[in-house]
Amino acid sequence: MLITEIKPKEEILAFLKEKKSIFVIQCYGCKEVVYPFDEIQKFLQENSINYVLQDYLCNHEYSKEYINKCKEQIENAEMLLIFSCGVGVQSFSEMLYNNTELKIKGKKVYAGCDTLYVNGFQGLTATEPNCAQCRKCHLNYTCAICPITSCSKSLLNGQCGGVKNGKCEVDKEMDCGWEKIFKKSEKMKDKNCVLDEKIHLHDFKIIP
């Protein structure tokens, strides 16, 4: 079970103002995720933001089809704004990134939701990207790779000195999350997607 809420609306609007063209996707949500579907709909409509709805963003089969279907819109957009849980945003970004068509491969995504922590069993569809429901989603400055779950120390301000041959210091089999973030940003030719000028801090008060 995941619980997702919409990011502060001013934050999203400020982001939208900066961009020329955005392709907005709203996930339908799923039974595993408690998701503010109506609130997001209302927000999008009130601000006259065009959007498309999409089933199960985290599902590769659906989403691959979908990317092909919306190819043109995705190519023409400067960026994608995605309303879904942390798993959906990561999975979708990865699918874009693994696409062979260059214009799609380089597309960046922006997460419109935060995923909250909840105790108990997570009945997730098994996906490689993982979300620890940290409540303050960091994907927007990490190329949509979760620094909480893909870095052994959950570092928020960049790679530690322990990386060797791209692997994490705690396990020679494990890819270093920050290496993946860095490499992805290089390939996408966008240094800003890795970290901004801010100092990022964990906010543990929101984790029960």
Binding site: S152, K153, S154, L155, L156, N157, G158, Q159, C160, G161, G162, V163, K164, N165, G166, E169, V170, D171, W178, E179, F182, E186, K191, V194, L195, E197, I199, H200, L201, H202, F204
Partner: protein, 292 residues
Amino acid sequence: MKLKKLFDDGKFVVTSEVGPPKGWQVDKLLHETEIIKDKVSAINVTDNQSSVMRLSPLVVSKLIKDRGMEPVFQITCRDRNRLALQSDILGAATFGIENLLLLTGDHNKLGDHPDSKPVFDLDSISLAYTVKRLEQGVDLAGNKLDGEPPKFCIGGVVSPCSDNLDSQISKMERKVKAGMEFFQTQAVYEVDKFIKFMDKVKGFGVPVMVGIVVLKTVGMAKFMNENVAGIHVPDNLIEELRKDKEKTKSGQTGMEIAAKLIKELKPYCQGVHLMPLGWDDKVPKILELAGL
């Protein structure tokens, strides 16, 4: 004295390092520091180095300070959350400790308490930011400190020979922006890589002290190549260690290699940081051979 002052004065700064014991008795450690006392500007005190539990570096820094030496108090984010970190940093100010080396820290799994909770509430960058806040008279949560704010000289580390150089440099740049005033590097054995690195970071305008770890055995060199991030001992140095077993055992080969590296690297950096790993008695000789 703050290390920054020495760099500002144009000095080539030499520092060394001691590791607190796994116990509370400090005679041996203090003896080690006495040997290097007059040869170096400051002595780093490591913080549960390699995630192995040891005596508190704050206590050892204070003892060193009391004996007229300048400690560099190393602080990692592995074992303390932001409250404990700030409270120890204020403690350092109370003791008159002026130099801090801020590190994220190795993961607990690498040390002797692999079951412990990794904290990493902050990291090296947010810790630097925290120190800057304290220096402005407020804590990380924005509460006002009583009395005068503390004033430190803060440094960090960087790996010039890392196979992920670009991301290391980008992190270094962020550290500089967060207020770090000097850098000590991971051990360097590859002169050309270091020169290239220095060329790339020149623009940051921050002094860099090249890290030197004295090679003790062939096994140690191989172990580091296999397991330690950012370190690569080239084959010719391993060959040198292998050639004359007696000479290597006595420490002579390691000292010669270290001195040669220092000589070659000195023109490219602002200081040298020696990590003798218990071979403190060899430090004076290395510096002499290096002409320092």
